[in-house]
């Protein structure tokens, strides 16, 4: 029995209560999970298929399958993971029909290889302290100023959109939806190690985009002195 609170999820009743409610036809229970998970399901579906409309259909189809299948839910995983698995299977089938298949079996040369931080940032061979930072990364404002929240969200959102599909799917499941590492590996049928490679590359890319953003945000704020005219 594990009650996990997803990174973006609000507090839900424990699975036992939710499942009993769904089986009893309790509409409030269905509304709770529908409203808590649909956004994440939509975002995830979008990584598998080619249009927003298609993603919305996959989510619809998933919920219909949940309604029809909850009587057979055995509680071997969390309810959320079970629902996500239905989505992934539905989305994969749909992606196949749209000739948009994502190769999951192995890591991809190029996109999943090589350093995640520009090697130029570290001292090279022959230099003293080889492999150490040339210059430390500049700390970011922490906590982030509330005034920047909207821009930070836009940067993160754009960064996710630019990720290769598999990296985007893994970071969505782990860091947006808050699923655990073993759940994501199982859901996507990849090894824990490959899952971690994809997640790490995705995070490092988003970090890089935020770093670039903070560097320029700093510059933009500096010339702000001077009075109004």
């Amino acid at each position: 029995m594990n009650v996990r609170i997803g990174a973006s999820a609000r507090l839900l009743p424990p699975d036992t209560v939710l499942v009993a409610g769904l089986r009893d036809g309790n509409e409030a229970a269905f509304e709770l999970v529908l409203d808590a998970w649909s956004a994440g399901l939509l975002r995830l579906a979008r990584s598998f298929v080619s249009t927003d409309a298609s993603a919305a259909e996959v989510v619809q189809e998933t919920w219909l399958a949940v309604i029809q299948g909850v009587a057979r839910f055995e509680g071997r995983s969390s309810l959320k993971t079970w629902v996500y698995r239905i989505l992934v299977n539905t989305a994969k089938r749909r992606g196949l029909r749209e000739s948009r298949t994502i190769p999951w079996s192995s890591l991809q040369t190029g996109e999943d290889e090589g350093p995640t931080v520009d090697p130029e940032r570290f001292r090279g061979p022959g230099e003293p302290w080889e492999g150490h930072w040339r210059e430390f990364p500049a700390p970011w404002p922490s906590p982030e100023p509330a005034a920047l929240a909207g821009e930070i969200r836009a940067v993160v959102s754009a960064a996710l959109a630019r990720l290769p599909a598999r990296q985007r799917i893994v970071i969505s499941l782990r860091d947006v939806e808050g699923l655990a590492s073993d759940e994501v590996s199982e859901l996507l049928e990849i090894t824990a190690a490959n899952q971690r490679v994809l997640l790490h590359r995705a995070r490092a890319f988003v970090r890089g985009e935020l770093e670039a953003y903070f560097a320029t945000a700093e510059n933009r704020r500096k010339p702000e002195d001077g009075g109004s005219s």
Partner: protein, 81 residues
């Protein structure tokens, strides 16, 4: 000062996710923490990865269209009856 077992910064940055998942073997875990304690740059890098993870977790929800939501609630009611 640098013994053969010390991590370099460029190795440290590649281990952050495994560290946060608790997936490093005990020996590497110890080297990671030793390096972290001694290196401000990597301390900042780790903090930024954690800030990144939080920022990703705060992405706003795009949601189902009201009509899709209503249709699903309708389907649920129908299934129940």
């Amino acid at each position: 000062m640098t013994g053969p077992r010390d991590l370099n910064c460029n190795e440290f940055v590649e281990l952050v996710t495994a560290f946060l998942d608790g997936a490093l073997d005990p020996d590497t875990h110890e080297r990671f923490e030793t390096h972290l304690a001694a290196c401000d740059g990597c301390d900042t890098y780790l903090a930024q990865m954690q800030q990144t993870i939080r920022a990703v977790g705060e992405l706003p929800a795009s949601s189902l269209s009201p009509s899709a939501r209503q249709a699903l609630l309708g389907a649920f009611r129908q299934w129940r009856d």
